[in-house]
Amino acid sequence: MMLFIRLVGFFIARRISAGTALSFVVLIGMLVFVGMLNGARTRAAMLGDTVQRFGPAVAPMPAVSVDVGSVHTQVWDATNLTYVATYPGGVLLPLRLSSRWLFIILPLVGLLLASREISQELESGVAQSVYAAPIRPSVLGMARVLGDSMGIALLIGIGLALAVSAAGCFVRLGFIGGQVVRSITFVIILGFYTSVFVLVGNLVSALLRSSIQSVWTCVAIALVVFAGQMAGENLFIARHRSYPTIPFPPRLVNEYLYSHDMWMTGAPPSAEELAADAPPEVHRYLLELAAHGQRLFEMVQADYRRERWFAAISPVHLVWEIAGQLLQDRHENATEIFAPQPPVDPTPPVWLSLRRAWAELLGMVAVWLALFGLNIRVLSRLEV
């Protein structure tokens, strides 16, 4: 057992200290860091522009229109817009604004980092020395697979966490307790997500035994992952159904809601208040809005559930669903952004958001375990 732990430690250390892996982590960290800074700036600019165009009398309202595209995209964008307009601070919004690209780039990085590992050892003859050691091949294989995937997951996790923290400190985003826990969980999940592709890369490398061939194969797999994501989104666009619409509220409605201290945290006006002092136009509009919101929410929820099945074949959709639930702290379920109901107060705990994406999390763990088993099988029978 001690030998196994030492071997795992050795492979983790080797992974973490590898120059290529470190360079990629620095690059991805830079990507997130700059993306978060720009996200924070864009948010300030958009808020300024809104106030300039509409004045401060703009009342926040439920999302009431669904654009063309997948419902996942709509929920993600609507949440972003809400946060842009009414954001109290913290790292969630900048992280949302800068993370979508990671869902595609991390598989590519994981695959390429692992693609040359075993094949290069076979080509250079290092594998002969390693496998000549008096250790059972299955133990060696298990330690190697575990060490490699954990090493990359750790490296990516630490790199992303450092980038997010640095960006947070740099623009004084503020570290709000719940948001920090969500961000850390998200970073851990991204590390795990990358490690799945490290296992795929290792497998390809061991099976093909040629570094250039395995690099090209891994590139092809990464392109398939990208194409899967693209095909899914466009399929949803093609099957997009028409959702009900409602005209934008008249200025009077905005002014009324604003006068009732609705700007940031105010409670909505009660039915009595509305009956007492709301002009008939406002009253009518809000009634229409209630009926419209409920209808729209039901449709969105149904479509959202259907779209989640696509995650079974598209890793990007899988991790995106988890991110969609995790990187928001206003609702128990991300789709409730379309519901005509107020945000949850206090903010929902992280485990509740994770529970909403249980199928995707379970799927990711199952795939990891399957790949782990396959890797051990291939590595323990590797001819050197």
């Binding site: 700036r41 999302a63 690099v215 934008f248």
Partner: protein, 279 residues
């Protein structure tokens, strides 16, 4: 009723990005203006993010092979520069052919599926020209890396790192630095808003250079193709800037052309000095 007026979503009255409403937005929409990453599933997203990597791979695959074949050719009375430039020419023809086929298919799809007419043809022509140029830049870099690194796998890894920097880091960095510059020099916001000309300040040159890196340049061209109105919101400097679309497109095309020339020249220089024996 109490639940109705609560705040839960996007501003109803705030529609910062009119999507799909402008008749010109057939191929490209104005998405990405929220500061979010451009959707990778859209045509613009594929062009910006997938095209560089794919063309880089084509470049690496078409780079002069080490060993016998190249050495035999070089044994003939032929200049190294000529050999490399022949590779470049073949590569550019290949990239242009791939782009022509892709956009041709896209045009056919549009003809079959719906919107057609002069505006689409104009957009298709523009998209073909700028995407070919954009792909050629990364393909030439791939060719250069294929010569520079002894192992092609190393060339691909370094190429991927470059693609991440150019398409992921620089677009955000350009917006960030521009915004910071105008924050530090608020007196320049009004003149920029009025004239649309960037400040003459030498310190701004570095920011301009970043703003004209390939991905930034292509993104701005796509914005202009999607929404060719002369006045548009530039969220990075908090101002509405009156620019001529044609001016922006020409400027960015020049930037893309310059990047292509740099890629080819650098590759030629490396090829002149590189041994071509087997790794």
């Amino acid at each position: 009723m109490e639940r109705v007026a609560s705040w839960g979503g996007a501003f109803l009255s705030m529609t910062p990005i009119p999507r799909g409403a402008v008749p010109g937005q057939v191929l490209f929409s104005n998405e990405g203006a929220t500061g979010d990453d451009l959707s990778t599933s859209s045509l613009a997203g594929v062009m910006l993010y997938a095209l560089p990597f794919a063309s880089l791979l084509i470049g690496v695959a078409m780079s002069p092979p080490r060993g016998g074949e190249s050495l035999t050719v070089l044994a003939a009375p032929i200049r190294r520069t000529v050999l490399y430039l022949a590779h470049v020419a073949a590569l550019l023809c290949y990239v242009a052919a791939v782009m022509a086929i892709s956009w041709g298919l896209c045009g056919l799809l549009l003809l079959v599926a719906g919107p057609s007419g002069q505006s689409v043809q104009h957009q298709l022509n523009g998209a073909f020209a700028c995407s070919s140029l954009y792909a050629a830049i990364f393909a030439s870099v791939g060719l250069w890396f294929g010569v520079w690194f002894r192992r092609r796998s190393a060339a691909i890894l370094v190429g991927l790192a470059l693609v991440i920097v150019l398409t992921g880091v620089f677009p955000n960095l350009g917006g960030l630095l521009t915004g910071s510059y105008f924050d530090a020099n608020p007196e320049l916001v009004q003149p920029t808003r009025d004239t649309g000309d960037w400040p003459d300040d030498p310190a701004f040159l570095a920011i301009l250079a970043i703003r004209h890196t390939p991905a930034n340049a292509l993104q701005r061209i796509l914005h202009e193709i999607a929404d060719p109105t002369p006045t548009r919101l530039d969220s990075t400097c908090l101002c509405r800037v009156a620019w001529s679309s044609a001016g922006i497109i020409n400027e960015e095309l020049i930037a893309l052309g310059a990047a292509l020339v740099v890629g080819i020249l650098a590759g030629t220089m490396i090829f002149m000095r590189r041994e071509l024996c087997e790794p």
